[in-house]
Symmetry: C2
């Protein structure tokens, strides 16, 4: 007896399922996309109930609705595991300054950088922040991202960090893209605490973290571990307190200097360490030992015009489950487009297209604690599927700077742009 389902997507010429990963993929597994040619996917209540050869799936189900993929390539929706998409003002003037030779640290010291976004965010209402973030989420979705992490960290007061996290929660409820909230109160040292960093750290530990925890406003606690902000000792102190309150941990680590951020991530068993442009061999070993997922943000290196990119190949060789993210933020990486990140990962990090797709889907899902729900086309997982105007996974990073996503499904609901055929039965 065929099972009644809500939807079947048929006529998929090539389907990268990435199925069967019980943990993030490493080494040669990074290229194992578990391709099905001539595929179909059946969906009920927003979840995948069958995926495989079209003939076999069709026989099993009686669908209410059919989407004809028109021979397109299908893959899991992107998971973007590192973003700062809630902010009050773009910073294209700093982009212009940087092109003229000002460094990141110089711009920061001149009242730009994160301080600029903090100043603007504190003045902004919840409503303004929300309405500005919505088109960013729309752009994410239209380029194939169906789940994203979003960080606080432009408030840096109890009130404003809570405001940001509430905005993130509301956005997640109102927009199809699923959001995973991260508390990043230790994104900078607020101006008013410039010469009393320890007092701000006490505020973080004694007031902000407990409040965020009790209100369940964030799953992760993140920190900017770098010479000009939080050193290793500060970071250990804050992250240990967060861990004790039940937060899972993330670090902005070794972006500007190799200062032991990756090592600390390994020591504390952080879920991910992010950036890692300057990571040391010791840091790589510590991440491997601690089971840390390296989240690489090559669009940031690109936007900064940096010569150095994170040593992705070394991390892959060391057995680390590399993930990719946009780092979407108004200062150093203004992009919502994971396809663009794939192009940078392939050309600059020398990741293969298959590795990059794995890093941007299943590994990215594990990097935000969602590996059991999204990131691959497995039975029981969310029907988060992108139909691409592309023959295969290689074509997406190869054909650069344009949007190949023809149709994006989130929980089985089709969004955006036209696709080959959509029949209501």
């Amino acid at each position: 007896m065929p099972e009644p389902v809500d939807l079947i997507i048929t006529n998929i010429s090539r389907c990268a399922t990435l199925r069967g990963a019980k943990r993030p993929r490493t080494g040669a597994e990074l290229e194992r996309l578990s391709i099905v040619k001539g595929a179909a996917i059946a969906v009920r209540h927003g979840r995948i109930v069958a995926v495989g050869k079209a003939r076999s799936v069709s026989r099993k189900v009686r669908p209410k609705q059919i989407i004809d993929a028109g021979g397109r390539f299908a893959a899991p929706g992107f998971v973007d595991p590192h973003t700062h998409i809630v902010f009050a003002a773009s910073r294209e003037h700093e982009f212009d300054m940087r092109v003229r030779g000002k460094s990141y640290v110089e711009i920061t010291r001149a009242g730009g950088g994160i301080h600029n976004s903090v100043r603007m965010l504190r003045k902004a209402t919840r409503r303004a922040l929300q309405s500005q973030a919505m088109p960013r989420l729309d752009r994410m979705l239209s380029h194939g991202t169906t789940t994203a992490e979003v960080k606080s960290g432009y408030g840096l007061t109890l009130r404003d960090e809570i405001k940001m996290l509430e905005v993130i929660r509301n956005l997640g409820r109102r927009h199809p893209v699923d959001l995973v909230p991260t508390f990043l109160g230790a994104h900078e040292i607020p101006r008013e605490y410039r010469r009393k960093k320890n007092r701000y750290i006490e505020l973080l530990i004694n007031e902000m973290l407990p409040r965020v925890a009790s209100r369940r406003l964030a799953e992760f606690c993140d920190i900017f571990t770098e010479a000009h902000v939080y050193n290793i000792k500060d970071s250990r102190r804050i992250l240990t307190a967060a861990r004790d309150l039940g937060f899972k941990l993330k670090l902005h680590a070794d972006e500007i200097k190799a200062m032991g951020g990756a090592e600390l991530a390994g020591e504390l068993g952080a879920v991910s360490a992010d950036h890692l442009v300057m990571v040391s061999p010791r840091g790589i070993r510590a991440m491997a030992k601690g089971g840390v997922i390296p989240v690489l943000l090559p669009a940031t290196s690109f936007a900064l015009g940096a010569k150095a990119y994170a040593p992705a190949r070394k991390m892959i060789e060391a057995g680390l489950p590399v993930a990719l993210a946009t780092d979407c933020n108004p200062g150093t990486s203004m992009t919502e487009n994971m396809q663009f990140v794939l192009s940078i990962a392939c050309t600059q990090l020398r990741m293969t297209p298959a590795e990059a797709l794995t890093a941007a889907t299943i590994n990215a899902a594990y990097a935000i604690g969602r590996g059991d729900r999204v990131g691959s086309l497995d039975i029981g997982k969310a029907a988060d599927i992108v139909l691409y105007d592309a023959p295969d996974e290689r074509y997406i990073p190869y054909h650069m700077g344009v949007n190949h996503a023809a149709c994006v499904l989130k929980n089985g609901k089709a969004h955006g742009v036209p696709y080959a055929g959509h029949t209501l039965l």
Copy 2:
């Protein structure tokens, strides 16, 4: 008495007109965008008849049609002065090979590279080539390009080069994007002439060039001047013959090695020398002396994962009128998006957003002999205008990897995506 016009575009918050350039812009002029705030543009018979403050333009004209730009930023349509968009097959498998460590020359020697495209193009019909190129032109237009140069060079026989040039002519007649054809019979040495290069050069000079000239199928003659293809002596011989037949000249110069391509461009008074990644100080001086426009193709360096980019700042300092292009081609730069090229130019070549916009509009127009007709919003020029979902020129390269063009007008006709308001009177 108000003058009757076909169209007025009003409510432009900021308009980069780039008007008044009687020659390509150099030095500090590269940043002179001749901005009008609160602007309007009036159009008749596809040409600009008035541009300036909205109040003053409105008073002068009686329009049949109004486009409300909704406070958007407006700029001239991009001119893409170096493309190879007529080809028979994409080459994403070579992209994958390159990521795995194969060099450009290795891929070429293994039967890949240009030879691959030559093999495929010779087998393709005119109709197939045309129908494949149309969506590429659509993507160009939707990302803001309104005029483009297109090269032959995948045929390398009299018959197949003529076929390509006829396809280019047909595309230009059928698609809104205006095309400028370039003969590039000296793109490679065809396999069948591998050990008899001089015989192919004779074929180029004695048969192909005269035939292309007599049929007026190309305005420019271009050549790939590089160690593994045409050396300086070959190049001088071919280009001199082309010049004698009335062709304007272009060179692919100094991309892989500084071998005197820029110097030759200067010596022969070529309109442009393109690539120039390895150009020498002597080459820069020769281009300045010969009035040569350097056309930089940073998307190619990016796609190749090269460490080196063309020394744009040195060329600007030397007084050269730098232009930008996509180099859209299936092997080394698969992108139609000039906005993406602007992002690379700013972040990697350290051009400012204003310089990059000038390089991609008015200077690019001069690089293909169209400086008198397109590339700026001057009275009498084509009404080729892009309305951007962006506040200013800095925002376009800053917000990377997405399409900011909300409405693209070619000869005063609006194409593509929605805009704020469009009223027929």
